[in-house]
Symmetry: C2
Subunit: 385 residues, 2 copies
């Protein structure tokens, strides 16, 4: 293997999905750490917390009362970053002046949802069996479907879901007021990732604009597709990785999950559909079960690694809600898990000075990270709640 040497030398790796580079310094793991330590996660939480705005039956910030839900529950974020309606903004016409050339802005509207993963306050995805994660995926799919452009090729395969009067899972939600361009599904887990409530939940922001990251990925996916006679970069990549094995953490029939060649965070993981799936609506029941299994495997291994409730941000990338046929066909369902911990429950990797100014830098290699995550499968280190 010519790559074996990359375990010892400083090198850069290329990320074809973003068209960017990462600096890898494997020898740097020997550095002693004297900086900030994260708080260890040892708080005992109740099954239901009367002061939690996500628990069933509780009152939220703006006065709404949560239903007594028994699986997932979706509502509009009380502090949404984008809103459905706002004052109009008409950017000044380009007149060749410095101001119109250099101070560009555009209005964005959208809708932000919160989704709880379980009625139980004191569990995380890592504590949940795959069968309990399936409803989370189904709810994501319903929400995605109900926002799909009716003219999208994806609308044909999607099981029809109208929101009112039934809402999602019987909980009332207004139909979106306009056609949005993109839906970002994500979860921030743990205080280190800016999460302010331990109740298991994620977020879904949908906007009139195609955000930066999916835009960059999509343009690289389109280019690869054109150059490689219709193949998909990520499908090809998953096939290659599944064959090589050294960066694989877990795989099943539908998905490959592993530490990508170009990963930035120490234990970063990507989940990639093995067949060409443009979005959640392309999944059948088996795919849903397989994705639930992958999510359970990853989150459990993360927790086992340092015997802590492992913080991360994760998100789904898939086809835009509305877009050109080429955009939809070039899209390929995948998930990113970005966890900050580096060496223990309390020592994280900081992507700061050099990383912000120059280039992301990592110490442990993706191959070393994948091996450690492969080796800590099995039951959750703590007893299930």
């Amino acid at each position: 293997m010519p790559e074996a040497i990359l375990d010892d030398i400083s090198h850069r790796r290329y990320n074809p999905l973003r068209g960017s580079w990462v600096l890898v310094s494997p020898h740097r793991t020997k550095r002693p750490w004297q900086g900030q330590k994260e708080a260890a996660n040892k708080v005992e939480l109740p099954n239901h917390d009367p002061s939690c705005y996500l628990c069933p039956g509780n009152k939220r910030a703006q006065g709404d009362v949560n239903p007594k839900y028994d699986s997932t529950f979706v509502f509009v974020n009380d502090y949404s970053a984008v809103r459905e309606q706002q004052a109009e903004y008409e950017p000044p016409a380009q007149d060749g002046s410095l101001a119109t050339r250099l101070l560009k802005a555009e209005s964005t509207t959208g809708k932000c949802y919160v989704i709880t993963f379980s009625p139980q306050h004191n569990v995380t995805l890592a504590d949940m069996p795959a069968s309990a994660i399936v409803p989370v995926i189904e709810t994501w799919t319903k929400l995605y479907t109900s926002h799909l452009d009716p003219h999208s090729p994806l609308a044909k395969v999607a099981k029809p879901t109208t929101m009112p009067p039934s809402g999602i899972n019987g909980h009332l939600l207004d139909q979106p007021k306009q056609q949005y361009r993109y839906m970002q599904i994500f979860e921030n887990k743990g205080q280190a990732m800016g999460c302010s409530n331990p109740h298991p939940h994620g977020q879904i922001w949908t906007t009139t604009s195609l955000p930066e990251e999916p835009e960059v990925e999509l343009s690289n996916l389109k280019q690869y597709r054109r150059e490689q006679g219709g193949s998909n970069l990520l499908q090809d990549y998953a096939e290659l990785e599944s064959e090589k094995g050294e960066r694989t953490v877990f795989e099943n029939t539908s998905f490959w999950a592993g530490c990508p060649w170009w990963g930035t965070w120490p234990f970063e993981i990507m989940v990639i559909a093995k067949e060409h799936k443009r979005a959640l609506v392309d999944f059948d029941e088996q795919n849903n079960e397989d994705l639930a299994e992958v999510i359970a495997e990853i989150t459990r291994r993360y927790d086992n690694l340092f015997e802590t409730s492992f913080p991360y941000s994760m998100g789904v990338h898939q086809a835009p809600l509305s877009g050109t046929k080429e955009e939809i066909e070039a899209s390929h369902f995948h998930m990113h898990f970005y966890p900050p911990l580096l060496r223990s429950a309390t020592v994280r990797k900081f992507l700061v000075g050099y990383e912000m100014m120059a280039e992301p830098q990592r110490d442990i290699t993706p191959e070393q990270a994948a091996k450690r995550l492969r080796d800590c499968g099995g039951a959750l280190y703590r007893t299930r709640i």
Copy 2:
């Protein structure tokens, strides 16, 4: 002003230097915060700490002893992320296979320096008068000069500096073993920014590769220069902002400093040379004094804002050490300050889920941030040490 409405609505702003977008949600500042709090900075530090590896006269990790320096001191990082010599890596030849197409790597060598800003353990740039910051700038300039490609047009203007036998400021340093491409000067300040030692210091990493960020900036600077008949994007931008004033924090004859239109971090600041300066070696004495004044003004205002030792990462972007004539001429000296605090000494902005997966998002607008920073000038809130 058509822009006044941007104080109230969600919108995206365009960053022409990076070719990227940021989502701005001004109404979101009303969100209550229940998440992680940073530790407040109230530790009393001694003037000299016998266990600090940066204090004058102390022993470092690998056994070297620091000289009894009285201003700045430069040495090679004992845990460098890149090294001058390492085993050779020859990437496999492109043979059209998935592996050679998707698993790309290249070897990078380089040199990492640490620079102390003061012999005093318990000060920061905010505590130092501008006159004491001038030597820091001069040391950066000497280090940059001693790594410059002798064929660069910049080598002509640079005051000749050879490293051995005198090293930097009389401290011995080996001449670099090869010609490097780029030098990244930066500082991580505060535990929240991964800094593990409060002794005032920065870092300088120099590499055979042109890192990601300067590469992206440089390509946009080159394009603007071609399209605008030789003008410089940043020089034009500084002129525009200095005239408008609403995003200005501080300026003097040589530099504009303010919260850029497209800033991501709540109190992000850019410092831009008003005249076309390609790199530190283009500065005269007045420029050095003016830059020192700007750095003093920014760091003091940051500390005054929440009455705390304000964490940040800052860095210098300037011409590559070696490059094409076009690259050198399109480069324009500027600095970025990326501070994480949002609302108080303990509540920071997290760039997590949505920001990582979709698009950077900010709450307070750059205009609001600039006003607050303009309003907290004057003496440092705490008595000088």
